[in-house]
């Protein structure tokens, strides 16, 4: 059976987790690629919600339009290639060899739709061997109209000994009410290479979001994922998987501030395939209103001399919100050391009382505590750390209403 036939056979296949979405209710626009002129105000509005500035963006996708930018060209001086995936697949055989290699289009209806109807928009980024890109590579995926499905297929290849820091903001401007975002990401981290991937999400109450991500890390490589979502959403379901080779390391962090009546089913899995590999999966959830949050984290050790730890912490801000933490650790070889800890609670009265005695109102004190709760020691470069701090300040305010 051809890949296309397999994808067609999966066109109605629900995902194992998250609410099932009837994709036939949404419009699929004709995909297109063009040179970015001035970005329109709706895209700028969306970008600003995740702290991105229009002048620094290497790739912008608005609905089903992929836009080249000047920064993408500027990155060429570091020999870094940033292209819309559609262009890369036409012009670069290497890109073709990487597409749909880590992710099976027949995984579920979302991957199948992306494969069949997505038009291969998204970004392709190639970092040559030994190149340590000194500036973060910013990309922005925005939905600016109602009732559409946005597809994006992102392929990143960080070659041997290279290093790159990628920041992707996915957002909609104020005013857009519903739609679907399906994001396919295939990341390759070669021998002794390093990739940090920071993803910032700001959606709206009617949006369904289905990112599908697989990462391959070769010997001595390191992958850091830092994910933040802080807006209301109809539903979001994601379960990225990282395959870790010999002596590799992965750090996977999710910061979730849920609200409204959204369903947030967010997890990650690390497969410790090579000896000496290690993974840390960290999540912080602050749930309010009637939101429903599932944090899934899984570590699977296939080799001895591997290590992994899961830490899932949750704070319930509203009585009608709900958090379920589902850690899974599986060892298939003696000598693997895996552990997990999970805790869900309320804001500690004593801490609140303490800060109020320092002059903070109850709301201010809660925001300080929530902000602190969301601090994790992710190994991110300083420039991105500052941006993340800015977003987390917003998240803390949003989380306590």
């Amino acid at each position: 059976m051809s890949t296309r036939e397999r994808a067609l056979s999966a066109i109605n296949k629900p995902a194992p987790y998250g609410p099932d979405i009837d994709l036939s209710k949404y419009r699929i626009d004709e995909p297109g690629v063009e040179e970015a002129g001035e970005l329109d105000s709706t895209v700028l509005n969306a970008a600003s919600r995740v702290g991105l500035e229009s002048t620094g963006l290497a790739y912008v996708q608005s609905n089903e339009r992929a836009l080249y930018t000047a920064i993408a060209k500027a990155l060429e001086k570091y020999s870094v290639l940033v292209l819309p995936t559609r262009e890369a697949l036409t012009r670069k055989p290497h890109a073709r060899s990487l597409a749909w290699r880590l992710l099976d289009p027949a995984s579920d209806k979302y991957t199948a739709h992306a494969y069949l109807y997505g038009g291969e928009l998204g970004y392709f980024i190639y970092v040559p061997p030994g190149v340590k890109v000194p500036i973060p590579i910013y990309t922005c995926l925005a939905i600016t109209t109602n009732n559409t499905i946005q597809f994006t297929h992102n392929i990143v290849y960080v070659d041997e000994g290279a290093e790159a820091h990628l920041v992707t903001g996915c957002a909609i401007p104020h005013g857009v009410k519903d739609g679907v975002h399906i994001g396919i990401s295939e990341f390759y981290v070669s021998r002794s290479a390093r990739l940090t991937f920071t993803m910032l999400h700001a959606w709206a109450e009617g949006l369904h979001v289905r990112p599908r991500t697989v990462v391959s890390v070769e010997e001595g490589g390191e992958y850091v994922s830092y994910y933040v979502t802080y807006s209301p959403v109809a539903s979001i379901q994601t379960y990225p998987v990282a395959y870790l080779g010999r002596n590799t390391r992965a750090y996977l962090a999710s910061i979730i501030a849920s609200s409204g009546r959204g369903v947030y089913d967010i997890g990650s899995k690390a497969v410790l395939e090579g000896p000496g590999s290690s993974a840390e999966s960290v999540s912080r959830v602050v749930a309010r209103d009637e939101s429903l949050v599932y944090t899934r984290a899984e570590l699977e050790a296939l080799e001895s001399d591997t290590r992994g730890h899961i830490e899932c912490l949750g704070l319930l801000i509203s009585p009608s919100a709900s958090i379920s933490s589902i850690p899974v650790i599986t060892s298939r070889k003696q000598g693997a050391v895996l552990s997990h800890e999970a805790a869900i609670g309320l804001i500690a009265e004593r801490e609140l009382d303490y800060l109020m005695s320092r002059g903070f109102t109850e709301e201010e004190a809660k925001a300080v505590l929530v902000r602190g709760f969301m601090n994790v020691d992710a190994p991110l470069p300083t420039s991105i750390r500052k941006q993340v701090d800015y977003i987390l300040d917003l998240v803390a305010k949003h989380a306590v209403g």
Binding site: E351, Y354, M356, R358, G359, E362, E364, G372, N375
Partner: protein
């Protein structure tokens, strides 16, 4: 007008009366020491003046600069100029000392924060989570640092000398002197009295026993007796006027 007046104050914790019908008056620039055995209610008294929610006023009233603050929430009392250095502040994971200090500096205004941090030797742990893994001295100096950031009219220090090294006690004593010299009223709770030896001026010493102020006198009279005989026997000695 006194800076602080407690009028027949009773304080309940979990519906149990811990402080009973206590009155006290303190003026700006005065240093009052409150001493007493473990469990006598010293921390509860300070908590009630600060307005912490676990210490409920169940009788009497608290006046600050003539304003009745008995039912005022703690953050409003803080804004009026009342500050408390907690005996056992909570460890707050993820919240850095720097974040809290910056937010407070914004709230209260602070022209010499850096110098203050240097004086109180807290610079090196500004980026650490608040009180997480702090030594006794670090904890006390940090509390004093945050109190100073509030630029208080009334500073209440709950056992700043317990569990700290000699160097920290010297630093803490210097800060108390500085507070007093700029007109801040100070209530100093001490169990051991160690810090009193480092202070150039103390206006009054109150002995608190079983939730009541059992004796108030000058430090020259009270302290030698307490150090020699302890609280209960010392109280007998003082009451006999010896």
């Amino acid at each position: 007008m006194p800076l602080l007046e407690l009028l027949g104050l009773s304080v309940c914790v979990d519906n149990k009366r811990i402080i009973e019908d206590t009155s006290l008056s303190l003026n700006s620039g005065e240093v009052h020491v409150v001493m007493g055995p473990n469990g006598s209610g010293k921390s509860t008294l300070l908590s009630a003046i600060m307005g912490l929610r676990n210490a409920r006023v169940c009788g009497g009233s608290i006046l600050f600069n003539g304003v009745d603050i008995t039912n005022m929430p703690s953050y409003e009392r803080a804004k009026l100029g009342i500050a408390l250095a907690h005996q056992n502040p909570p460890e707050i994971k993820g919240v850095r000392l720097r974040d809290v200090a910056n937010a407070m500096a914004k709230k209260y205004g602070c022209s010499d924060c850096t110098l203050l941090a240097k004086t109180l030797l807290v610079e090196s742990f500004m980026n650490r989570s608040l009180f997480v893994g702090f030594s006794g001295g670090e904890r006390k100096r940090t509390e004093l640092f945050l109190v100073m950031l509030q630029d208080p009219k009334l500073a209440m220090l709950d056992e700043p000398d317990s569990g700290v090294d000699v160097e920290s006690i010297e630093v803490i004593a210097r800060v108390i002197e500085s507070l007093r010299s700029r007109g801040t009223g100070v209530i100093l709770v001490t169990h051991t009295g160690t810090i009193t030896e480092k202070l150039s001026r103390i206006d009054k010493v109150h002995i608190l026993i079983d939730g009541r102020i059992a004796y108030t006198g000058s430090p020259d009279v009270v302290l030698p007796v307490v150090f020699k005989f302890g609280f209960r026997k010392g109280l007998e000695v003082l009451s006999r006027g010896v």
